[in-house]
Amino acid sequence: MSLLTLFISAAIVNNFVLSQFLGICPFVGVSKKVDSAISMGIAVTFVMTITAAVTFIINNFILIPFELSILQTVSFILVIASLVQLVEMFIKKMSKPLYNSLGIFLPLITTNCAIMGLALFAVQKEYSFVDGIIYAVGAGAGFTLALVIMAGIREELELAKVPKYFKGAGITMIVAGSLALAFMGFAGLI
């Protein structure tokens, strides 16, 4: 699978949010405004790339040599949680404005299914180091794409006369449903 097809398949064809159902919690929570969606997307892509690199190292140099695949889940999530906390502290120290726009989302990322999903799929599909990174960047791009489209639509929704009971999460789900339908059109592209 050439890198480009890998990127496109991760970003669009098998979009992490719309066809694999990963990362729905931030998808509903953060997609109120386009700028917060973009910074959330960047934060997620950034953490995904580091996670892909670190989990590849841990998996291939610690877990497989010692047949510890049972520790896969535990070690990965420990890595992700600590990494996110380190990144948050780092950003908080280095630049306050970046922290204000980006940092508040970082605690949300720890419980983000997309990151853990990415780590597990990369291991399941036995991607090499470079493939893993491209897969992570593609998945991050797909996540950001879905989030930004959703944020754009939801900004319009503010003005629309949404029926009272569907306001908020209900209408978001239905709009996400139609988005998933659209993304299904990409199936078979790769």
Binding site: L18, S19, Q20, F21, L22, G23, I24, C25, V28, G29, I70, L71, Q72, T73, V74, I77, L78, A81, S82, Q85, P107, T110, T111, N112, C113, I115, M116, G117, L120, F121, Q124, P163, K164, Y165, F166, K167, A169, G170, I171, T172, M173, I174, A176, G177, S178, A180, L181, M184
Partner: protein, 203 residues
């Protein structure tokens, strides 16, 4: 919400409806959408999550005093991950077909926002007894929503419930119900419905 004043029964009941994890708090949506293409999967995922939620609530509410603040999230997550792997291996060993059906979504219970959410919001602030009740309430609340969602999607998507075919042969199945869009639409309508029911109940 005041922490002390809730009576014990309220702790359990609140998870079922008025603080239902999926419909009201919008937690744990990833497995809710992904796995409920059949009722059996819904039940299995619900019970697996409840087991993990219960065990981790108990353990975390016991050790909450000794965990320093900076390592709080990391240690909670390691505890949850341990229980998840236990469940994952248990299912793979004793019920292989369910494990195959649920596939990658069992390890993803670790990052299920519901569990870490409850630990942060509740188990880390209350004693063991209350956390158990809260865990049971939230778990059952999560399970019945998943099962109902699974039933509806299976009924419309394959014309059967728990693999017993119900719909007449003439009914051509709504393929979309099994696919991702169906999941989003059904959950959206579910949330709308529950808001409406809440509205009627209030006045």
């Amino acid at each position: 919400m005041a922490k002390k004043s809730n009576s014990l029964t309220y702790e359990v009941v609140k998870g079922l409806w008025n603080e239902n994890p999926v419909l009201i708090q919008l937690l744990g949506l990833c497995p809710t959408l992904a796995v409920t293409n059949s009722a059996v999967n819904g039940v299995a995922m619900g019970l697996a999550t409840t087991f993990v939620l219960l065990c981790s609530s108990i353990l975390i509410s016991v050790i909450r005093k000794i965990i320093p603040a900076q390592v709080r999230i990391a240690s909670y997550i390691v505890v949850i991950a341990t229980f998840v792997t236990v469940v994952d291996k248990f299912l793979a060993a004793y019920t292989p077909d369910i494990s195959k059906a649920l596939g990658a979504f069992i390890p993803l219970i670790v990052v299920n926002c519901l569990i870490l959410g409850r630990q942060e919001a509740f188990a880390s602030k209350n004693n063991v007894g209350r956390s158990i009740l809260d865990g049971i309430g939230m778990g059952i609340g999560f399970t019945w929503v998943l099962t109902l969602l699974g039933m509806i999607r299976e009924l419309l998507g394959e014309g059967s419930i728990f693999a017993i075919s119900i719909m007449p042969e003439s009914f051509n199945t709504w393929l979309v119900m099994i696919l991702p869009p169906g999941a989003f639409l059904t959950l959206g309508i579910f949330i709308g419905l529950s808001n409406w029911i809440n509205e009627r109940r209030v006045n």
